[in-house]
């Protein structure tokens, strides 16, 4: 560990000190129409061939020698902008780029573009938000996480679920950040939709390995999602009506060019449609009642520019899923009432301050709040109407969740074009509620009312982290990103610490082919306790404790990357990852158990390795990608499978995704995705036998379901084709988009789950019982349409 510290210390101290006078040009790069900051825009000096890239706030800094400069600003989908002048002092230059109107136009030269082979970072993918919005989707609901599932190295879980598995990791090993704030439950509707409304998002980036030191806290991936800031120049709106939901977005300036806002909301309305029919159903069965389910989410953000050096951001997300069923039934003199409600959701808030200390030093200070909560309320009572008294009265309230308060400071220091230094720290105060019950009931004597509270102990924890990293261009061909991430977690009177070295290296071969390698160690202090077979909002986020130790991982990856013809990015990577102390339920542990959760879990090891191919085209009439993953993923627990290694539930040998958007012209866009994946594994008894045992003078005989090892059965492969078409009509004051398509076009019966069922056949001798292995599928072909107006 010490040698890593020394290396990093030297790296961060190394600032090239040229004898020639040098000056810094810095500022923001944004969209000319909206003022929205552009993340990852490229800045290139024609004279020195030096370059820079904007950070997640659109800020850039480039230090050049005194003299003539020719700065070219460029960004995918935008026209280039060139600024030439004589550099004689530090200069602040904010630049806005115009969106390119010509479809497929390549307006920048190869050297001016930000290319995959130029970056040190590997195992990273960014998806243009426009592409996400163009893809066909389940019931027409554009879904960011389901698009992420189409990337190589990322696997979907069960059919339709928005949870994702990266390089053999579990869903809780993905750090999902919304404007830098961790999101704990990223799904609506029991996992079928993600909580992210794509209308409010400006940028999405997924990192699967070679993690820069600024990220920490999860083992397998970082999904960094950035919200739009809102249009600074004029008001705009967007309304979409789909099969299951409607959404609207409004953005504009509160103070022109100074303060902007964006508000985006979405709500499903199946409950409105279904309610009268459900009510009628209850009436026909002789009772009053109703049932309904909906989800909603709201994103809001205000951005205020105090001056050239200071910016403030306030953002809020709130989303909830709500389900309720109630019934009132009267018979004789009795009145029976039962009511069941289930609610879960996230609330996230962030206040952010961007400050430019100098042209070379940029800081971001953030205070955040993140809360995930699940609540269940079950009530039942019976009233004797003649006596006007309660005969039975029972209520059960269950709640669980996690609440975080966090503060972090991040600095970007760009001393010269050869170095990009980042450092900072974070403090998080966690509150965990692993599940609490409030129960009330009427005692037998009909008088006393007893309340009792059962459940798990609430826990508090503190997490600190500090990091430093330098993206260092050692020579024109060799670039290194080296860093250290230190973290500490204090809980239950116990402190855990970890020092995590990170290293990424890129070497550029002749012909602009980049060879890349990376090494990263990660540590995770919070984990999701989830059942292996299903994903439910009842899955619990829990901390490391004295008994349950933190999870660790290390990963190495090697690969090559090249951009063909300036348009088609190709990367191939191999990786090997080991995970220690991953968590799993013990055998026989059940969801309906109320003992200490620590007694129900076990910790073991995980191992994942594989190779990934990614071919992506982001510009032109044809855009999209082809991804292929060859992967293995294993688990080994002392308490499971008798200590032997077994395949992880989402061990999938082959994963292929083909994603395509074809813009025929301004008015018609076609899109399609095809996915193929080796079937998931699960535990299925292959035979039965009779076992017996002597016990206490009695002898027990029992049928034993035998399986040779855990996850011994592999389901059939999964594949699916989705197609969509957008018809776009531009009017004087608005643009109308009508989207039509279908999910699972050839209605493949993909396995969702399998079970041994007992069926009965009528025979001449009476009903005969047979056992059958049944594969259940969820979605046949599902057509969709949606109508969108933007103004």
């Amino acid at each position: 560990m010490r040698k890593w510290g020394l290396i990093f210390f030297l790296l961060t101290l190394f600032i090239s000190a040229s004898g020639q006078q040098r000056y810094t040009i810095s500022g923001y790069v944004g969209d000319a129409a909206s003022g929205e900051k552009l993340i990852g825009a490229n800045i290139y000096d024609e004279h020195t061939a030096a370059g820079a890239v904007t950070n997640v706030y659109g800020f850039y800094s480039i230090t050049l020698p005194q003299g003539e400069v020719g700065l070219v600003f460029s960004y995918v989908g935008y026209g280039r902008k060139k600024v030439s002048f004589f550099l004689r002092r530090d200069t602040v230059m904010n630049v806005n780029l115009e969106q390119s109107l010509e479809i497929g136009a390549v307006t920048v030269t190869a050297s001016e573009m930000r290319r995959i082979e130029h970056e040190t970072q590997m195992s990273m993918t960014d998806i243009p938000i426009r592409q996400i919005q163009a893809l066909p989707s389940l019931l027409g609901e554009t879904d960011l996480l389901k698009t992420v599932q189409l990337l190589p190295g990322v696997q979907s879980g069960s059919e339709g679920q928005s949870g994702f598995y990266v390089r053999g990791g579990s869903p809780d090993q993905n750090l999902i950040l919304l404007d830098g704030v961790p999101v704990y439950n990223a799904s609506h509707l029991f996992g079928f939709y993600s909580i992210f409304n794509t209308e409010a998002i400006s940028d999405v980036k997924l990192i699967k390995g070679g993690f820069p030191a600024r990220y920490g806290g999860r083992l397998s991936s970082v999904l960094d999602i950035r919200m739009k800031d809102g249009n600074q120049h004029e008001y705009h709106g967007d309304v979409t009506v789909g099969l299951i939901s409607a959404k609207a977005t409004v953005e504009g300036p509160l103070v022109k060019d100074k303060t902007s806002f964006i508000v985006s909301g979405r709500r499903t309305y199946a409950d409105f449609i279904a309610r009268p029919f459900i009510k009628k159903g209850f009436r026909e069965s002789g009772s009053d009642g109703n049932a309904g389910y909906y989800f909603y989410d709201v994103n809001a953000k205000v951005t205020h520019t105090l001056d050239d050096k200071n910016k403030l951001f306030f953002s809020v997300y709130n989303g909830n899923d709500k389900f309720r069923v109630w019934e009132r039934y009267r018979y004789d003199e009795y009145d029976e009432y039962d009511d069941t409600r289930l609610r879960w959701g996230n609330t996230i808030a962030a206040a952010r301050w961007n400050h430019i200390w100098s042209g070379k030093l940029f800081s971001n200070t953030t205070a955040t709040y993140s809360h995930y909560n699940l609540g269940t309320h079950v009530a039942f009572n019976t009233r004797d109407m003649a006596k006007d008294s309660l005969l039975e009265d029972m209520k059960l309230v269950y709640s669980s969740g996690i609440r975080d308060y966090a503060v972090n400071m991040d600095f970007d220091y760009i001393p010269d074009p050869a170095h990009y230094v980042r450092f900072g720290g974070r403090y998080i105060l966690h509150y965990f509620n692993p599940g609490n019950f409030d129960m009330g009931f009427l005692a037998e004597d009909g008088v006393s009312h007893v309340d009792t509270t059962l459940g798990q102990k609430k826990l508090q924890a503190q997490e600190f982290s500090f990091y430093g990293e330098d993206d260092w261009r050692i020579t024109d061909n060799l670039k290194v990103n080296a860093g250290l991430h230190f973290s500490s977690f204090i809980t239950d009177g116990k402190a855990y610490t970890s020092l995590q070295p990170r290293l990424s290296v890129r070497y550029l071969l002749p012909g602009e082919v980049a060879l890349k390698a990376s090494y990263a160690t990660m540590r995770q202090y919070v984990q999701l306790l989830a059942f292996s077979s299903i994903g439910l909002p009842t899955d619990l986020w829990l901390p490391t404790t004295r008994r349950v130790k933190p999870q660790d991982s290390w990963q190495v990856a090697v690969g090559a990357a090249h951009t063909f013809g300036g348009l088609v990015e190709v990367s191939i990577e191999g990786y090997y990852k080991e995970m220690n102390r991953v968590i799993a339920y013990k055998e026989g542990a059940g969801m309906m158990q109320f003992d200490d959760w620590q007694d129900r879990v076990t910790q073991g090891r995980g191992q994942a390795y594989g190779a990934e191919l990614f071919v992506q085209k982001k510009k032109g009439k044809w855009t999209g990608w082809i991804g292929y993953t060859l992967a293995w993923s294993w688990r080994r627990f002392a308490d499971l499978n008798f200590g032997k290694k077994f395949p992880y539930t989402y061990d999938r040998r082959h994963d292929i995704s083909v994603v395509c958007v074809y813009e025929i012209n301004d008015r018609i866009h076609l899109s399609g995705t095809w996915v193929y994946g080796t079937g998931n594994v699960f535990t299925l008894p292959t035979s039965v036998y009779y076992g017996f045992y002597p016990a206490g003078g009695y002898d027990m005989e029992t049928e034993v379901q035998y399986f040779a090892e855990r996850n011994n059965y592999r389901m059939k492969p999964y594949h699916r084709l989705d197609l969509g078409v957008d018809f776009i009509r531009k009017k004087k004051h608005y643009t109308r988009k009508f989207s039509l398509g279908a999910y699972n076009v050839y209605s493949r019966k993909n396995p969702f789950f399998m079970n041994i069922d007992t069926w009965y056949h009528n025979t001449d001798q009476g009903p005969e019982m047979i056992k059958v292995l049944v594969q259940y599928s969820l979605f046949p072909i599902i057509p969709y349409f949606s109508l969108n107006f933007s103004f």
Binding site: G691, G696, K716, S747, K771, L773, I781
Partner: protein, 306 residues
């Protein structure tokens, strides 16, 4: 084109059916052997059968294997005894257990503490199934003492407690099975008493007994405490004032039997809860087959009332 294609696709038979039946997974037909031997046994009995496919609905009688050769060998490979087939069931040797279909009568108690024995079962169709076990040393325990109405549980029910000291040998993994029997003092055992314990050291209750491993008290004198309820005792009539005479039995068992008993019990408890519990894998130690071969050494002590 999509609009034209959709009705065509939808018209296909079973297009929207959400389930399909799938052929059962292949499985290997194997011998299933259950043989438990206490060092005090003078009669050995075993069950020999075969497994069936997970979708087969076969009765026990159809699984019984009566034409196997069941041998017990010592560490030198010499035959200690051969268990003979009892035909359709072990009614003569083991009443009420039709699954017992092999047995042998020994001239003297099995004993064999510290010795290793091999079970060898051969049958023409299924080949050979073997297992090897070493007879543990007899457990050393102190005098067990009974305290009636020792306390109340969370439900307010009074329980009785038997306490004794278990002298655990150091430096080795040891596993125990604890039984408590009612006895009339003359006819020997009458009946087992269901035991329980709130101490997490005891693994799942196994039938009427408790399982214990020495991981946390290796080499120490472990103060063992087992509880039982008067109302849960067999043959206890209403109004019985005093508890009958009792016998504590502590068995030193092998690791294999401990794993088998724990997993079998857990699998039974979980039953058919499907998606709501994690699957339980039942341990077996029969190479080339399924089931369990177990050797255990028994210590029994009369329980003294406090």
């Amino acid at each position: 084109m999509l609009l034209v294609l959709l009705p065509l696709l939808v018209s296909c038979e079973d297009f929207f059916r959400s389930y399909v039946t799938v052929p059962p997974p292949p499985y290997e037909k194997r011998l299933v052997v259950n043989l438990y031997i206490d060092d005090t046994d003078t009669v050995l009995w075993a069950s020999v059968s075969r497994n069936a496919g997970s979708l087969e609905t076969v009765k026990w009688e159809e699984l019984v294997v009566n034409d196997a050769r069941v041998l017990l060998l010592d560490s030198r490979g010499d035959v200690v005894c051969e268990l003979d087939t009892l035909g359709g069931g072990g009614d003569t040797l083991y009443p009420g257990m039709p699954s017992v279909n092999y047995g042998a009568v020994l001239p003297q108690p099995f004993a064999g503490n510290g010795e290793t024995f091999t079970l060898q079962v051969t049958q023409q169709e299924f080949g050979m199934a073997t297992a090897r076990q070493t007879m543990p040393a007899r457990p050393q325990i102190g005098v067990p003492r009974l305290k009636e109405n020792a306390g109340k549980d969370m439900q307010g029910d009074e329980y009785n407690r038997v306490s004794f000291t278990l002298h655990d040998p150091p430096g080795e993994e040891n596993y125990y099975l604890i039984h408590l029997y009612m006895t009339d003092g003359e006819q020997g055992y009458l009946s087992g008493i269901p035991l329980s314990s709130s101490d997490p050291l005891y693994a799942e209750d196994y039938g009427y007994a408790l399982l214990l491993e020495d991981k946390t008290f290796d080499g120490e004198d472990f103060p063992a405490r087992v509880d039982f309820y008067s109302w849960n005792m067999p043959y206890m009539e209403d109004g019985t004032d005093s508890l009958p005479a009792m016998l504590l039995e502590v068995k030193a068992i092998t690791r294999d039997f401990y794993l088998y008993a724990r997993s079998l019990r857990k699998a039974e408890e979980m039953g058919d809860m499907g998606f709501f519990v994690e699957p339980v894998q039942v341990y077996n130690n029969i190479e080339g087959g399924l089931g369990i071969f177990s050797l255990s050494a028994v210590t029994r002590e009369a329980v003294e009332k406090e």
